[in-house]
Amino acid sequence: MTEPLSAGERMALLRSLTLGTRRQEPELPGRLVREGDLHPAITAMAFASQQARLSSLPPRIRGTVTTFRAPEDPRPLLPETLRPALARLVTAAIASRRDLLLEPVAWRIRDLGLRLHPFDDLAMRNKSFRTCLGPYEAWYLSRGRGHAVSASAASDDTWTSLGPQTRADWLRMRRAQDPQLARDLVAGQWGQERAEMRLAMLGALEVRLGPDDTPFLESLSSDRSGKVKDLAARFLRRLDVESERDTSVEALLRKSLVVKRSPLGKRRLELVSGVDITAVRDFLVDLHPADIGERLGIPVERLMAPAGDAPLLAGSFAVGALLRDDPSTFEAFAAANLGTRVDGDQALTGWWQALAHLGAQRRPYAAEHVFTDPVARVLPGRLEDAQAALEWLEGPMPLRASRAMRAGPAWAGILSQLPDAKLGDHARACLSMPACLIHPDDARDATRDLDAIGPMADPLVHQLWQLVAALNELQPSTRSVP
């Protein structure tokens, strides 16, 4: 066996090879030179190469290793048997329908108290699954996005290294702790940021918005970005409205709403020009609609009339009634506004916004009322809107609502369509919602409905149903999202 090259011999050879053997003839050890070898430098290079490959495997490094340990999540993992089905559904659903199909599944998984497997990367691949995020996934997302610092770990000195979304999250958190300091941080950084970042930072000031913010918001009237100017103006209007709140409810109502007369002399309510429904809804739902009518000198029946801004307002008035345990007035509003007399999109938008408000207050029981007959009547063509409403409600459909849904004409209409192979995207969406949201108590009945139809014409729906049926068989965990 040939003796290995010494470090000196190896260095000398490498120097010669780097400079060129024509310029610097290599001085090769005699043991590497063979008689008749026309190119001994090549042979020596091959020898040195093998010596290196057999002595140095991945280069060692020194230092203190920082390891990671993600936070514990006590929820059990989604069963192994369901992981491939879920991954398949994520991959198969076309982009435009993906959220529609996946969000209800995500809700169901969360409702069962299960956690997604962190290795499946679903939270990163699809935002629908962020409803089931636990501490592990949140930790992973904060690292996986590649930020130098995660939102929770940022400080007053490092927050500017965060991306727009994470930075806004951090500012919201900081704003909740110390509104003035957070505003000062934003103001100090303002001139150095692009429009997208300025908008994100301004959006974070919504938390604990107060009169002290007025000078800063007014200074933004000359900002280069139209979106920033609009948002600042909206905040200022809200501050204006809120500052008046304490004076008198009546004055506030008159500042926000105006009574107009139609050409036929009938009175109706509209928002004062420039007032945003989102700015007034909070106090409107604090009042019963009859009280509002009395203060403004307009009968409550006229408040229900669907015209002008009424559809937008009607949702808030109806919610006000519901929050005061007056479902009959609520249903009267629903009957008047969710029929065929107004443009469906506009009318429903108002309702869903109102429902979003309820959702934010964690009062999902209201959804039960919404999904009873008045709304169910219009559902065959409006299920996607209902889907949107449920997203805002952030929860699975309550038992009574799901039963109303299944007993109503919408579900019957869907079932009657299914044997027809021409399932369009809309019908697909119609199917997905009740399929996933039906209360577990009724899941078996619902599955029977589907079984009665026979093989699905749409394989995606079939996959969805298989997954939901399997989920419905699982026992709910006693754990919830930490």
Partner: protein, 478 residues
């Protein structure tokens, strides 16, 4: 939902496809051939030229089909053969549960316009002009045994002549390579990088002419790999890589002195190939039947516009050798075919290894779904206890088969972390650590899961984590 022969004829793109499909009607060509009558689905696995069989799916309701083969004819011969089998011998298909790969396809596909019914079955030619399914079945020529023997002898002589001619060309190509290497060294490795692409392309073209395709590809890919190295180590890396090529050149010239397995390794690296059928028919080839876990899948686009799908398998039986198998599939980039297996899949299979000093590359002979109660993915045996032992094992592989790159290793008791800004794989007790390319994406999730038993690939002087067994189960890589 029966299919008629006329519908098959109508679906065929041309007469040649029908003829090719007729040769695939033998049951022996289809290790898997199943059907779900209720859902109107049929599927099968048809043996092709790759290491893994082609997977064919068929929706009987509208004759929608999908095959993993790279053919540009639609439907391909495999899909046609499946339709044909259903039309002629539906009992050849057994009832089965729809597998994941069929479900996945169903989720993606858009329903086709239903195939036109055969309006006049008595005149199929009118429905499909220029195609005739009945004439597609070739009648075997009857030849007397003596003539058959003479033909075989002539074919063998011609093959030997072709081989001898190629041997000369390869040796001549190696002479050109040596001259080229001498020129490169005379000019100096320091001057090489700016002209690396041009120079490598020239010699690669000469080696293609010399029918030394393996060496040609190596040299063609060398500039890309060179520029991927940090500037400070580029010259050292180049000297090592060219030295490695030179060793292969010398080894080929002296191949008769090498042990048989290593000789085959050298020849394969230079460019000689062993046909799949020849390997399957080789009675001396090493065969192993066991339960295997797919521990990694990698797809690499080569400079020759082929995608190389690497499927890394780990054997379940404790202490058995070889422990690994590597299935390779080469497909055109434009075909868009996905890897045949997914990480974490467990199956029982017989593989046959290409002859080698360290058997690794293999072909799948047969495969079955594992019985209930099989060891789950990630329950590995025989892992090295720490990085030092794993690296020693990799060095031993390199000593017996110098051109094996990458080398798979299984190492227990490690975790992923960082040192400064760099990612590392480190022993839990801190005795050893090696750098990783980056800590991002799903590897972050793995890093947070605690200690691992990792499957890694030692490639050159680097290591990458392919998959791992973790406290949260099997992680199949990115």
């Amino acid at each position: 939902m029966a299919i008629t022969l006329e519908q098959v004829q109508q679906a065929a793109p041309d007469q040649r496809s029908l003829t090719a499909a007729s040769k695939l009607l033998k049951p022996s060509k289809w290790p898997v051939l199943e059907m779900d009558v209720d859902r109107g689905l049929a599927w099968g696995e048809c043996k092709g030229s790759g290491s893994t069989p082609y997977r064919v799916r068929l929706d009987l309701s509208d004759l929608g089909y999908k095959c993993t083969c790279p053919s540009r004819k639609f439907p391909c011969k495999h899909s046609l053969a499946l339709m044909w089998t259903i039309a002629e011998r539906p009992d050849a298909l057994s009832a089965g549960a729809v597998p994941d790969w069929v479900e996945e396809w169903l989720g993606r596909r858009r329903p086709r316009k239903a195939a036109r019914p055969a309006s006049d079955a008595s005149d199929p030619a009118a429905l499909a002009p220029g195609k005739d399914i009945r004439s597609a079945v070739e009648v075997e020529e009857i030849v007397d045994p003596e003539e058959q023997a003479r033909r075989a002898e002539r074919a063998a002589k011609a093959a030997a002549r072709r081989k001898a001619t190629r041997e000369k060309k390869v040796l001549a190509g190696l002479d050109e390579l040596e001259t080229w290497l001498a020129d490169v060294l005379a000019e100096g490795l320091g001057a090489f990088p700016p002209r690396a692409s041009e120079r490598c392309r020239q010699i690669a073209a000469r080696l293609v002419d010399a029918q030394a395709g393996g060496l040609a590809t190596w040299l063609d890919e060398l500039p890309g790999a060179l520029f991927a190295q940090p500037d400070r180590v580029r010259t050292d890396w180049l000297a090592e890589e060219l030295g490695h090529i030179a060793l292969l050149m010398h080894a080929y010239r002296r191949q008769q002195a090498l042990p048989p397995g290593l000789r085959e390794d050298v020849r394969r690296r230079v460019g000689w190939t062993v046909k799949r059928d020849d390997l399957l028919n080789d009675a001396d080839a090493l065969r192993v039947r066991d339960t295997w876990t797919v521990v990694g899948v990698q797809s690499v686009t080569q400079v020759d516009h082929l995608v190389r799908h690497e499927t890394w398998l780990r054997r379940h039986t404790e202490g058995a050798s070889p422990e690994w198998a590597l299935l390779l599939d080469f497909l055109p980039v434009s075909g868009g075919a996905r890897p045949p297996y997914g990480p974490g899949e467990v199956f029982v299979a017989e593989v046959v290894y290409y002859p080698s000093a360290w058997p690794l590359r293999a072909q799948l002979v047969s495969k079955q779904t594992p019985p209930d109660g099989v060891v789950p993915a990630g329950a590995f045996h025989g892992a090295a206890a720490g990085l030092d032992e794993a690296m020693t094992r990799a060095l031993m592989v390199r000593a017996v088969q110098p051109w094996q790159d990458p080398i798979p290793v299984l190492v227990d008791g490690v975790h992923v972390g960082t040192v400064g800004s760099g990612a590392v794989l480190a022993d839990i007790d801190g005795t050893a650590m090696v750098p990783l390319a980056a800590l991002e994406g799903p590897l972050v999730a793995v890093a947070g899961s605690g200690p691992l038993c990792a499957v890694g690939l030692v490639r050159g002087a680097g290591l990458s984590v392919l998959s791992a067994s973790t406290s949260l189960g099997f992680w199949g890589g990115t």
